[in-house]
């Protein structure tokens, strides 16, 4: 009697495990195939990896901002901490990646938890400000003179990324792309399970009405703290992968505008949706990569009286998106698919009365 009545939706409901396995197999096939034939250039894989890394970073932010409803303008800090954890583990301790990556996650989880406790008492603009302060403080802290032997100070830290494992005959960019896909699949699977669990439900209850959640017995401080820690860990892993792709970290790679980019990615992709994080990450990377070229091309083509700045292009695109897709690109796309689905000729007919299992 009490089976939830499902609303008809056109979701492409592939099994998540299958989707993940298919993504990894596809990535491996693409990497191996192009290694042999050269149809996809090695540096293209670098860009695919970078877009995906931003997607993972946005996914992390999405946990705390999209699902638990706590704004963070400081997730670049955890991205940086994860990157440094990777660089230091590989560079100083010659740790293998399968140790360095979980290590980065754990370090960021702890950093996130420690940071969350005091600041998540704050609300709205005050919380945003406190997290933003973190984004500003961490790069400065990384330059701290007495830590220079560890962090490399202002000049940063070089290390050499390990070769492909199992003697795979893949170029570094290609095998790292496969690694990034594997990590992304794990991260998305993990976050998906968390948001669909009872813990996820308590996060969303806090987002919707914190006082009511507390009145129903939810320890809101603990849930917010763990959500922030998990969120920091996922974004930190993205940072670790980023460091691996460049074999280099420096404080100036992770300035506060990185935090803003992650936040923009979350909003543009679609807050509180998982595929939206991928879209948002790709968006941020594409803008980062092409705004410059587009600005130059437009200035040249139309012989404009002013030099277009990349930031202007960025701004215009953002404003358009906020108007055209207020629930994010993924949300807008889903809505379009839903409309199309409902407008099929036989949309009204139901195959059979839905029975409770």
């Amino acid at each position: 009697m009490s089976a939830p009545s499902h609303i008809e939706r056109p979701a492409i409901t592939a099994h998540p495990l299958l989707t993940g396995a298919a993504a990894i197999a596809g990535a491996l096939a693409l990497a191996a195939g192009s290694e042999a034939t050269g149809i996809v250039a090695s540096y293209t894989f670098l860009h695919l990896s970078l877009a995906l890394v931003m997607g993972i970073a946005v996914l992390g932010l999405n946990v705390v901002t999209g699902y638990a409803g706590q704004i963070s303008l400081g997730h670049g800090a955890f991205f940086a901490i994860g990157a440094y954890a990777m660089a230091m583990a590989v560079g100083h301790a010659a740790a293998p990646i399968w140790i360095a990556l979980p290590l980065a996650a754990i370090v960021c989880f702890c950093a996130g938890f420690a940071f969350a406790r005091p600041i998540l008492r704050l609300e709205g603009p005050y919380l945003a400000l406190a997290t933003f302060a973190l984004a500003i403080a961490v790069p400065q802290a990384l330059k701290y003179r007495h830590l220079e032997p560890l962090t490399g100070g202002a000049t940063g830290l070089h290390f050499v990324k390990p070769d492909a494992p199992f003697g795979l005959p893949l170029s570094p960019d290609r095998w790292l792309f496969v690694l990034v896909v594997v990590v992304a699949v794990v991260a998305f699977g993990l976050v998906r399970n968390v948001v669909q669990s009872g813990f996820g439900r308590s996060m969303m209850a806090i987002r919707e009405n914190e006082t009511a959640a507390r009145a129903l017995g939810i320890d809101t401080a603990r849930v917010k703290g763990l959500a922030f820690a998990l969120s920091a860990a996922v974004t930190g892993v993205a940072g670790a992968l980023h460091a691996l792709l460049f074999e280099f970290v420096s404080p100036d790679s992770y300035r506060f505008d990185l935090s803003l980019a992650i936040f923009v990615g979350g909003v543009v992709g679609g807050i509180a949706t998982l595929p939206g994080a991928l879209v948002g990450g790709a968006f941020v990377h594409l803008v980062h990569r092409y705004a410059d070229a587009v600005a130059r091309a437009l200035s040249d083509t139309f012989d404009l009286p002013l030099t277009l700045q990349p930031a202007m292009i960025y701004g215009v695109v953002l404003i358009c998106l906020v108007y055209l897709a207020p629930s994010g690109i993924y949300g807008a796309a889903r809505e379009m698919v839903r409309r199309w689905w409902m407008s099929r000729p036989n949309a009204g007919r139901k195959p059979a009365a839905p029975n409770a299992p």
Binding site: M1, S2, A3, P4, S5, H6, I7, G198, F199, R201, S202, M204, A205, R207, E208, N209, T211, A212, A213, R214, A215, L216, G217, I218, D219, T220, V223
Partner: protein, 237 residues
């Protein structure tokens, strides 16, 4: 009579302005206590103080244990369910998800299913709408959801803040019929805040009248008491 809730010497001030002066009240186990009074008398404030959402002085003893210093979520888990007058609907979540927030962190799915079954038995209108987003429910349905959700805590004391607020008379009747059924079926102890005096006294075994932050009257809601209450609180005599 067993005292399930024993409030003594409770005082609250909002930014220096006193709202409750040294009030005391008792909820007997298995009975409905109505807390009535005019607008601004301090009824909502009393419930908030018991739930420890606001700062207060005085003592709150629940089931023989001082709970005045405990965090609101602790108090809820001990079995004090507070249904606020704004209902606190988790609007983007479905009805089903709303109901499963109190059990979200318990990890016992079987018990959760049983509790939901038991609670929905009283709320057929919600049982039909489990997959609907709670924000799209009517006002009456949201009130029912708020009560049903509170029952998912397996409370020993149910505190309701104006369940009739903003509802059409017919819906109010429906909600109160459900409340009566819950009281009779589960011998639930209830602290009921209500503006509508007739409604409150019809269901209550005991009434406490607040007037400008003080207990003006407490006793059985018999006919004489009812008249006295009406005169004093609503006519200002």
């Amino acid at each position: 009579m067993r005292r399930l809730l024993d409030v003594e010497g409770l005082s609250v001030s909002y930014a220096g302005a006193p709202a409750l002066h040294d009030i005391s009240l008792v909820v007997a186990e298995g009975y409905v206590t109505a807390l009535v009074g005019a607008n601004g008398a301090g009824k909502t404030t009393t419930l908030r103080a018991i739930s420890n959402i606001i700062r207060k002085t005085g003592s709150v003893v629940f089931d023989g244990r001082e709970i005045g210093a405990l965090a609101p979520d602790r108090i809820a888990r001990l079995g004090v369910a507070h249904v606020p007058s704004d209902r606190g609907t988790f609007r983007a979540l479905t009805v089903d998800e709303n109901l499963r927030v109190p059990t979200a962190l318990s990890g016992n799915r079987a018990a959760e299913r049983d509790d939901r079954e038991r609670v929905l038995h009283h709320f057929p209108r919600l049982a039909e709408r489990l997959g609907q987003r709670a924000g799209t429910l009517s006002g009456g349905e949201q009130q029912m959801l708020a009560i049903a959700r509170a029952l998912m805590l397996r409370p020993r004391l149910l505190m309701l803040d104006e369940p009739s607020f903003g509802l059409a008379p017919r819906v109010v009747e429906e909600v109160f019929a459900i409340l009566r059924r819950i009281r009779d079926a589960d011998r639930m102890s209830v602290l009921l805040v209500e503006q509508n005096l007739g409604l409150a006294l019809a269901i209550a075994d005991h009434a406490v009248v607040l007037d400008a932050g003080r207990v003006a009257l407490a006793g059985l809601p018999d006919e004489a008491g009812r008249l006295q209450i009406v005169r004093r609180v609503y006519l200002g005599a």
